[in-house]
């Protein structure tokens, strides 16, 4: 008996009990659909995270003040600013793989326009910051180095500030925002960045020249940077080396002996991105694992129905044996039937899974990412489920005694 003939017999037998075959297949459909949808969702979430980091600039590094030790007492992180303006210049000039370095200091403040007021974060920085963050202007321009030098009272605002202070769609260029009673002229609106990796609003910002910030908002210590330094490496590949070079440079400048705790911290986005991706991967594999279990349950359903089918068709099996079917041909017939059921379930499951994934992707605004390897794994796995759970009933059929099978009522 050829495989094609066996397949035809199997399909004929399955079509004879359409509803039963469909219900049997449903378990596998749900299992496969769940695997495909879960993995697609996981991939979509991962891509979204990667996109968020991309928005922040993946070749970006940050240097923050660490804990300081004053006469034996260790303060908390950033308790006393340890970074100096000299450190900033050294990073910019002495580390070969640094493209840009910008100071970043910020404080919470009430921003007031003619119509409204709004609690936001005001940050002082230099023009390079916009390059490091990969952050173009939607309207107007960023402030210049000359404006930083002259402590100009100019501000770049985010989209949220425009909405809260001037109303939706208003053009705030040239208008005034008061911060701590000091009037700042709006010269630019930064393009929309959406939520940041922590879920906060990246567009709820007012950015002013760092010198103006130090003089008018911050006050106090003027020789230290009471915040951090944003650095961009010349390429994504060298962020790790850049980070090491910066650490070595600052340890030398701060006279920290080998083995001693540094009074600053460095972070790079690649490291954070991979941490986020790792957790997304963990969740994806967890969900896929749960989905695989449901596929297994589908397999048990197939086994159950195949056992019923073998019992129901005992006489048919006896007759087939009488006219010359060998045990392995009977085995093949029922095995092919089980695998056909499982594979039909797998294919329907792929369709349902892709449908579900694209619905969810649309709903959450994630990119729809179909991993073809997962589709292949799902098909292979459902076929395997058919073989594993079909083998026992098929063996049972093959081992029937033809005489008893022929007499079976």
């Amino acid at each position: 008996m050829t495989l094609l003939r066996t397949l035809r017999v199997a399909i004929g037998a399955l079509l004879r009990n359409k509803l039963r075959s469909f219900l049997t297949v449903l378990g596998v459909v749900i299992g496969v659909a769940a695997v495909i949808a879960m993995v697609s969702i996981g991939e979509g979430a991962k891509a979204r995270i990667a996109q968020n980091f991309e928005n922040m600039g993946t070749n970006m590094l940050m240097v923050h003040s660490g804990s300081t030790r004053t006469r034996g007492f260790r303060g908390g992180s950033g308790s006393l600013p340890s970074l100096t303006w000299g450190d900033l210049e050294a990073i910019r000039d002495e580390v070969a793989t640094v493209r840009h370095a910008a100071p970043f200091v910020s404080a919470s403040a009430q921003a007031i326009s003619e119509e409204e007021n709004w609690q936001t974060r005001v940050s002082g920085t230099s023009p390079e910051y916009f390059d490091i963050r990969n952050w173009p202007m939607a309207l107007g321009r960023r402030f210049t180095k000359a404006e930083v030098k002259s402590k100009a009272k100019v501000a770049v605002v985010g989209k949220t500030i425009v909405e809260e202070l001037f109303g939706d769609g208003a053009n705030p260029l040239g208008r005034t925002v008061r911060i701590n009673r000091i009037p700042f002229k709006v010269i630019g609106v930064a393009s929309e960045k959406g939520s940041n990796v922590r879920g906060g609003d990246s567009d709820d910002v007012v950015l002013i020249p760092v010198t103006t910030f130090m003089a008018k908002i911050q006050g106090g210590l003027q020789n230290r940077i009471p915040g951090g330094i944003f650095v961009s490496a010349t390429s994504q590949g060298v962020t790790g080396r850049t980070r090491e070079d910066i650490e070595a440079l600052l340890r030398a400048r701060h006279r920290i002996r080998p083995g001693q705790d540094a009074d600053f911290h460095t972070h790079d986005m690649a490291e954070m991105a991979s941490a986020f991706k790792d957790s997304a991967n963990t969740i994806t594999s967890l969900l896929a694992g749960v989905a695989l279990v449901s596929l297994l349950v589908g397999g048990i359903g197939i086994m159950n129905i195949m056992l019923v089918s073998v019992t129901e068709r005992t006489r048919e099996i006896g007759l087939r044996m009488a006219v010359g079917a060998k045990p392995r041909q009977i085995l093949a017939q029922f095995l092919v039937e089980a695998v056909t059921l499982a594979l039909i379930g797998g294919l329907l499951g792929i369709a349902a899974g892709l449908g579900g994934a694209s619905y969810l992707a649309g709903r959450f605004g994630w990119p729809l990412l179909i991993r073809m390897d997962m589709v292949a794994v799902a098909v292979a796995f459902s076929g395997l489920v058919g073989v594993v759970f079909g083998l026992y009933p098929a063996r049972k059929a093959a081992l029937l005694d033809p005489i008893q099978a022929l007499r079976y009522e």
Binding site: T2, E316, A322, V323, G324, K326
Partner: protein
């Protein structure tokens, strides 16, 4: 002279049912030559069904020898027995044993599929076999659309399709009315005339009368074995008399 088609010597079959072994066959010996039409009669429990199962290579004897076409088959394994059944034997059962919801043509082609014959050749041979049993116009009908006599004809066509040396019929008319029974027996006689050997188990004297040799069994032994002049069909086979079962 050619070796006999069937040669059984001191055939024994003992079943272990519970504590007491049941001796279904107790030393049966006979020969059947090619082209014979043998009727096996006997009360139920006389061992005739056991004998048929062994002759049909569905079962193996506990002791003794069974030579089919000159070669010993009593020691063969399941796969080899399946091949013997497929190539040398044809079965006709009391309850027809057709596959339900499967056309007459496909039912008849079934043994050919197991013989490794593929699609078209198998269906052509099946159509030819159905023609020989007078069902050329019923190829696409399913068993439920055929009368009992027609179903048994399909079963006979299925037994014939592999051109076997021996056809074994187990109460082939048991489910049929007497007129249809006679038609079926007439068909068997026609087949016998073409050289096919037939062994038919029955408990009806009128049916056994069609055979050229009568064996009678009792308590696992053959108590009578004699040639007889076969009865001729009482009436010529009427065409189209069978009605399609509703």
């Amino acid at each position: 002279m050619d070796p006999p088609l069937i040669e059984v010597m001191h055939l024994h079959k003992t079943y272990d049912v519970g504590d007491v072994p049941v001796r279904a066959l107790r030393g049966v010996s006979f020969r059947i030559h090619e082209g014979a039409f043998v009727a096996v009669m006997g009360a139920s429990g006389s061992g005739k069904t056991t004998l048929m199962n062994i002759l049909g290579c569905l079962d193996r004897p506990s002791a003794g020898s069974y030579r089919l076409c000159g070669s010993e088959v009593s020691g063969l394994g399941r796969n080899q027995l399946a091949e013997v059944r497929n190539q040398l034997l044809g079965f006709v059962f009391q309850s027809y044993n057709l596959l339900p919801r499967t056309s007459a043509l496909e039912n008849v082609a079934l043994p050919l599929h197991y013989a490794g014959l593929s699609g078209r050749a198998a269906f052509e041979a099946a159509a030819y076999a159905l023609e020989k049993v007078g069902l050329a116009d019923r190829l696409r009908h399913q068993p439920s659309q055929l009368s009992g006599g027609q179903q048994q004809r399909v079963a006979i066509a299925r037994a014939l399709v592999t051109r076997p040396r021996l056809i074994l019929a187990d109460e082939p008319t048991g489910n049929l009315d007497s007129a249809t029974s006679l038609e079926i027996m007439a068909l068997f006689q026609e087949l016998g005339a073409t050289g096919i050997t037939l062994v038919c188990v029955t408990h009806e004297r009128e049916i056994a009368a069609f055979a050229s040799r009568l064996m009678r069994m009792r308590d696992g032994m053959i108590v009578e074995d004699r040639p007889q002049t076969p009865a001729s069909p009482l009436a010529p086979r009427p065409e189209g008399r069978e009605e399609v079962a509703s």
